[in-house]
């Protein structure tokens, strides 16, 4: 084998020619060892390959673009490029009333719609100054839906986690259980996703007939379903080999990068806003905050699956409390006529609309009720000026909603501080130095939802 470089210009050196055309080797046959040896010694610097894991990819949890610089199989540099799902939700909110804002905010992080709604509505209620006047039933129903959403979101994270590792059975098992939760959502809120059910002042509707019984049914089945899932995943040697020691981010790293949620809890710190800064009556519920010490992708998976158990515990307590409340007029929306949505909906022959009793009341009995109905539906309520930041513990981390009001019927500015957006910045810290195949479990362990990242 002869190493040849052709010189394009007189006086040029080997190095110039190599740079221009690349190294050229003449291979005559039976000399593979020499070629390999020459290649090794000629490699003066590492050849880095830049790979684009583009926005359309089955394993990137949505439209996330990753630009990876690889040295062989090792990732030397990972940059995430986002914005492929930017929807302008925050700007849209400025052109809608406060109540209509719920329908937009709910579609930000679409795996945890109830959390988006809760953060936004709680922020609005603090601006209105009614956070102490919410009816008890509304608080319990909110907690019920929030915890069911936590279960659904964790399952929606664990399922694709398995799918991205290539284990479709995990996906099918998780989806099997998630379907049951979506059935409950459909029964209670009317929709499987993007419910727009939590409104400023309470919730949109009361529990339907048979709702509590359906939730109880689910709670009976759920432990068995979670057990099946855990039997499949926890001790699975392939899963463990792919997630143990992967995507390591210890407490120092989490603090430096401002990471909260299951990633922080997998480092051993039991920081959960439901315990440290409780809202919606969480201080009255009994539940634990699961933590792990391993700081890796496997630890985060264990934290999530244990959180499902804790959420089911809270759901049980909510159901018991709702069942105890047998008073005849138990409001689920604030009774203040200037804020609470007026119409009590009912299903009539022509579809869903204000109930006949409500129409009789506003048309025949009370002029104020008619005025309130008219004003609330056309322009909505007015919120005193000011700004508020409300944070909730979403399944992904701390979800905050910063709302600014100028005294009008529309939000002046609403901003969602999404945990996925914040945590994706930690991806570089988790992946650099690891193998290419470890990037996938790393992303899946952060569990980003690109709708929340891009809003």
């Amino acid at each position: 084998m002869v190493r040849v470089t052709t010189h394009a210009t007189p006086g040029a050196t080997d190095a110039d020619a190599d740079a221009a055309q690349g190294r050229v080797y003449n291979v005559a046959g039976q000399d593979w060892d020499e070629v390999v040896a020459a290649g090794e010694e000629d490699r003066s610097e590492n050849e880095l390959i830049v790979v684009n894991m583009g926005p359309q990819h089955p394993s990137t949890h949505g439209v996330l673009r990753l630009i990876l610089t690889l040295d062989g199989e090792t990732v030397t540099d990972v940059r995430a490029s986002i914005g492929y799902l930017h929807t302008g939700i925050e700007k849209n909110l400025e052109y809608r009333t406060w109540t209509q804002g719920t329908t937009f905010v709910t579609r930000a992080d679409y795996l945890t719609p109830i959390f988006n709604e809760a953060a936004y509505c709680m922020a609005v209620e603090r601006l209105l100054g009614i956070e102490d006047k919410l009816p008890e039933r509304a608080l319990i129903m909110r907690v019920l839906l929030l915890e069911l959403n936590r279960v659904a979101s964790h399952l929606g994270g664990i399922g694709p986690f398995g799918l991205e590792l290539g284990a479709t059975t995990i996906f099918l098992q998780a989806v099997r259980m998630r379907e049951n939760v979506l059935d409950l959502f459909e029964l209670i809120t009317g929709l499987r996703m993007n419910h727009a059910f939590i409104r400023p002042g309470g919730v949109a509707q009361d529990m339907p007939a048979g709702g509590l019984e359906a939730v109880r049914d689910f709670l009976r089945k759920a432990p068995r379903l979670v057990h099946d899932l855990r039997t499949l995943i926890d001790a699975n040697p392939v899963f463990k080999a792919r997630t143990q020691g992967i995507a390591f981010l210890d407490l120092e790293g989490c603090m430096a990068l401002g990471v909260t949620g299951p990633i922080l809890r997998a480092t051993g710190l039991p920081w959960d806003l439901r315990k440290s800064q409780p809202y919606l009556g969480y201080e009255t519920y009994e539940f634990d905050v699961p933590t792990q010490e391993t700081c890796d992708a496997y630890g985060r998976y264990l934290v999530r699956i244990e959180e499902i158990d804790q959420s089911l515990r809270i759901v049980q307590q909510c159901v018991d409390r709702l069942a105890e409340r047998t008073m005849p007029n138990d409001p689920w929306l604030i009774q203040d006529a200037k804020i609470g949505w007026p119409a009590r909906l009912s299903l009539g022959p022509d579809g869903l609309g204000p109930s006949p009793e409500h129409i009789a009341h506003i048309m025949g009995q009370s002029m104020e009720a008619l005025i309130h109905h008219f004003k609330l539906v056309t322009e909505g309520f007015r919120v005193p000026a000011g700004q508020v930041y409300q944070a909730v513990e979403s399944p992904k981390g701390e979800l905050g909603c910063h709302v600014v009001s100028d005294g009008g019927t529309r939000p002046y500015r609403a901003h969602l501080r999404d945990p996925s957006f914040h945590h994706l910045q930690a991806l570089a810290a988790m992946c650099e130095g690891g193998l290419l195949a470890d990037v996938i479990p790393a992303i899946a362990s952060i569990d980003p939802v690109i709708g929340g990242v891009d809003r």
Binding site: G54, P55, Q56, P58, G62, V63, G83, Y84, L85, H86, T87, G88, I89, K91, N92, T103, F104, R107, Y110, L111, G156, G159, P160, F171, L172, V175, R176, R178, E179, L182, R192, M193, N194, I450, G451, D454
Partner: protein, 189 residues
């Protein structure tokens, strides 16, 4: 495409159309183009309860090079539109597009600067599926309608005639017949 495209009109072409249509409809491989909330419903449609695998759609064309059907599930932002077109161009013929959800069909509730108001601005759509998000059963219904369309799709010379017929029928559509008010806005129906 293949030799079936070059056959002259006649009994032979009709029989080939039937067989090809039947074969194509039974095993449509979707390109995973899940973007937003509709993607979650798409995933659930592949789950155990509503099982897309029964219709030959379990194998997802993760690479567009082996996909037949692009289900645009979710809102397409301005940044994503060129990517969408590129994926569509990378799919080999025959290919079909279902725009799933209102955001893909028309921009949905997001009538603003950031969202393409309907993916038919970017790719030709075969089936529009409304819903926010559409239930899995609705998605399956749209897939059945697409299967009907595929099974009855003609090939070669017959296809050209079919296209001309469809265009003329669409131009005569009532009661959405073009009025002067809409003409001023420059929209076409």
């Amino acid at each position: 495409m293949g030799i079936e495209e070059k056959l002259p009109s006649g009994v032979l072409l009709t029989s080939v159309e039937k067989v090809a249509g039947w074969a194509r409809a039974r095993s449509v491989w979707p390109a995973t183009f899940g973007l937003a909330c509709c993607a979650i419903e798409l995933m659930m449609t592949g789950g155990p309860r509503h099982d897309l695998a029964r219709f030959g759609m379990e194998k997802t064309g993760s690479t567009p090079r082996e996909a037949d059907l692009m289900i645009v599930a979710g809102r397409v932002s301005q940044k994503m539109a060129p990517v969408l077109r590129q994926i569509y161009d990378q799919m080999p013929e025959p290919k079909w597009v279902i725009s799933m959800g209102v955001c893909a069909s028309s921009g949905g509730m997001f009538n603003n600067y950031a969202i393409v108001q309907g993916v038919d601005h970017v790719v030709p759509v075969d089936i529009y599926l409304p819903g926010c998000p559409p239930r899995p059963e609705m998605l399956m219904d749209s897939i059945f309608k697409l299967h009907d369309k595929i099974m009855n799709m003609k090939l070669g010379a017959d296809r050209q005639d079919e296209i001309t017929e469809l265009e003329e029928a669409r131009l005569k559509l009532q009661p959405l017949h073009v009025t002067s008010a809409i003409n001023e806005a420059g929209s076409e129906l």
